[in-house]
């Protein structure tokens, strides 16, 4: 798969980081919205936090989002002319890389952002995508834009 150019605005990065820190030591997750343009550029313009459905014991290590809540967020964003770009979630006290579970449950065509978060705050954000069911997982570089 060709590497995409991902441009993420600063507010969205800030939103993701804040969500990850507030939720720490639990895992957080949310959706990223924006626009896909023809020339392989993906713009991320909005991050929407979602509730983690996992119970308090599981929420330290796992996240699951209710499909109906994804649907309602998705519909609302659509009305603002934004399309879903992907999913972000945090890794409390662990690195920004995909876990085995992340890889297994990955939805093709969605960009997955992983926020590594610790006691001291956010450490790193990295993004991946599996373009189609039988494609490999590719890491995307991203740039923050104003």
């Amino acid at each position: 798969m060709d590497e995409k150019v991902i441009r993420i605005d600063r507010l969205s990065i800030f939103g993701m980081k804040t969500h990850a820190s507030l939720q720490y030591p639990d895992e957080c997750c949310g959706l990223m919205f924006g626009q896909r343009t023809k020339n392989k550029t993906v713009k991320i313009q909005e991050c929407v936090p979602l509730n983690n459905m996992e119970d308090s014991l599981q929420s330290k290590r796992h996240f699951t989002v209710s499909p109906m809540s994804v649907w309602s967020v998705e519909k609302a964003a659509g009305k603002r002319g934004l399309e879903i770009i992907g999913i972000y979630h945090s890794h409390p006290d662990t690195g920004a890389y995909l876990s085995k579970e992340d890889e297994e449950k990955m939805i093709p065509g969605q960009i997955y952002a992983v926020v590594s978060v610790g006691n001291e705050g956010c450490r790193e954000i990295r993004m991946w995508e599996k373009a189609s069911v039988d494609a490999g997982i590719v890491e995307h570089r991203y740039e923050g834009a104003l």
């Binding site: 030591p25 895992e27 997750c29 959706l31 979602l50 330290k60 290590r61 796992h62 996240f63 699951t64 989002v65 499909p67 109906m68 994804v70 649907w71 998705e74 659509g78 399309e83 879903i84 999913i87 979630h89 945090s90 890794h91 409390p92 006290d93 662990t94 690195g95 890389y97 876990s99 085995k100 579970e101 992340d102 297994e104 449950k105 990955m106 939805i107 093709p108 065509g109 969605q110 997955y112 610790g118 006691n119 001291e120 705050g121 189609s132 069911v133 039988d134």
Partner: protein
């Protein structure tokens, strides 16, 4: 029937958001979708022909993904949604123990140990691996008093391989009320040696290093260097900040514990860039609120409660299980029997663990000054009075006002006869009770709070002659008065 497709799954269906399918069951719909969009089969099903874990079918807001209801009829006007199940997780294997796998693998448990640690081995999250980590661990306990007593005994019982006990004090009879690691026969023995005997009695296999030294800026590094974990069981802020700074600088995690009267606190500090003591308490409590030069009283089991929590945190860190108190401060109030946990973040401008630390060496720091125990440079020096001199003046019945600035509960222990009692916090308000024409001597337990008292009054404009009893009441202990007048 109209199927509405989430944007996350549209790539399987030529980016269509709605698809009309003939039929009236989920089975019909799924067949219809793959007939119309053959490419979508790969997206919807895995190699075994089961729906992929991220596919969810909702009918009128109800999850109908489960195969059992695929053949049930669906009302004509139902809202049918094809939605994603978004899920994932963090890597499991990083809930890291402070003891590396290599060190764990380097130790073995013999049959005797397997028998001894049975209760640990029965716990799934400890097991043989966890017990080996405990055996490989090297822990320093600073202070073999009320907190150190349970900490040291539980760590020894749990099988910690190497325990270093550091304490410069001797066992006194007044220690036996709460320091349960020592017994009556240990009175006047070094606490470190007495603790060592108790450990050996619990567990002969424990390697014990007993150090009968005072922890200060010169000794602290050599005391803790090369150890996996430090447990602060000391009783004063000066030492606590010193231990904290050394742990941050050497990158050794620290289990902090403190007790006072009926309350205690526990936290895990300097762990994986977590906050340190200075992030938690940027400055020690103001003098006069907590006696800084006297050991406050505590209810006997308090050290047992708080120390046991410290030992438990230590074991969690060693085994690599549970949620530790890193980034959190636990407070326990044993009178109301309440506890609470507050989250604490690392302070990026913290002088030790911040982004641009000002403290880079333990030696360079003036703890006396930091703890408010030293006169400021700008202040006039305080006139000291030796205990012998005070005794002489009392014997000669010279006109003298003696002001005891200790807290009420401290005075109950050892009263100073004929002293005017004004706790430090009330001094300014009650300065009219002092006669500026008469020399006034201020006393406290160790002669440090009394310096503060004098400076406070001076600042408030008091003009009389003031002396500080050097060494405090502790120094008066050995003075023998020739008549009953002193009556100490």
């Amino acid at each position: 029937m109209k199927i509405i497709i989430s944007a996350t799954l549209r790539s399987f269906f030529g980016r269509r958001d709605e698809i009309e399918i003939k039929g009236n069951t989920i089975k019909d719909i799924l067949t219809g979708l793959t007939d119309e969009y053959p490419e979508s089969a790969k997206g919807l099903y895995d190699e075994d022909g089961s729906l992929r874990p991220f596919i969810r079918i909702f009918v009128n807001g109800e999850d109908r993904t489960g195969k059992s209801s695929h053949e049930e009829g669906i009302p004509e006007d139902a809202e049918i949604l094809l939605l994603p199940l978004i899920a994932g997780g963090a890597p499991e294997d990083e809930r890291k123990s402070i003891i590396s796998d290599e060190r764990r693998k380097a130790v073995a448990l013999d049959d005797k140990e397997i028998e001894r640690y049975e209760k640990h081995l029965l716990l799934r999250d400890i097991g043989v691996k966890g017990q080996k980590r405990i055996k490989a661990a090297r822990v320093v306990v600073i202070g073999a008093g009320a907190l150190g007593s349970p900490v040291i005994q539980y760590l020894a019982a749990a099988g910690v391989g190497t325990i270093k006990v550091v304490d410069f004090d001797m066992v006194a009879i007044s220690n036996l009320g709460s320091q349960v690691i020592h017994g009556t026969r240990d009175i006047k023995r070094p606490k470190a040696a007495s603790a060592k005997d108790t450990i050996k009695n619990i567990n002969r296999d424990t390697e014990v290093i007993a150090e009968n030294i005072k922890v200060d800026a010169q000794t602290i590094i050599s005391v803790i260097e090369g150890f996996d974990l430090v447990i602060d069981c000391t009783d004063n802020y000066k030492t606590r900040y010193l231990i904290n700074d050394a742990c941050v600088l050497l990158g050794i995690p620290l289990v902090f514990g403190a007790i006072y009267q009926y309350e205690g606190q526990v936290s895990v500090l300097a762990k994986d860039k977590g906050p340190c003591l200075r992030c938690l308490f940027p400055s020690p409590p103001p003098p006069g609120i907590v006696p800084t030069c006297a050991e406050g009283g505590t209810i006997s089991p308090l050290g047992g409660i708080i120390g046991s929590i410290q030992a438990n945190e230590a074991l969690k860190l060693i085994i690599g299980i549970g949620e530790t108190l890193s980034g959190k401060l636990l407070s326990v109030d044993t009178l109301g029997l309440r506890s609470n946990i507050v989250k604490v973040k690392r302070n990026c401008s913290c002088p030790v663990c911040g982004d641009k630390p000002a403290i880079t060496e333990v030696v360079d720091f003036d703890y006396e000054d930091f703890c408010g125990l030293k006169e400021d440079d700008g202040e006039l020096p305080v006139e000291g009075l030796a205990s012998e001199e005070l005794a002489r003046r009392i014997e000669r019945k010279e006109p003298l006002t003696i002001v005891d600035v200790r807290e009420p509960y401290e005075r109950a222990i050892r009263r100073f006869p004929d002293a005017l009692v004004i706790p430090i916090g009330q001094l300014v308000r009650r300065q009219k009770e002092l006669n500026p024409e008469i020399d006034t001597v201020f006393i406290c337990k160790e002669g440090k709070r009394s310096i503060l008292a004098i400076n406070t009054l001076r600042e408030a404009g008091y003009k009389g002659v003031m002396y500080n009893l050097k060494g405090g009441l502790d120094a008066m202990r050995d003075i023998i008065f020739s008549n009953e007048a002193g009556g100490l």
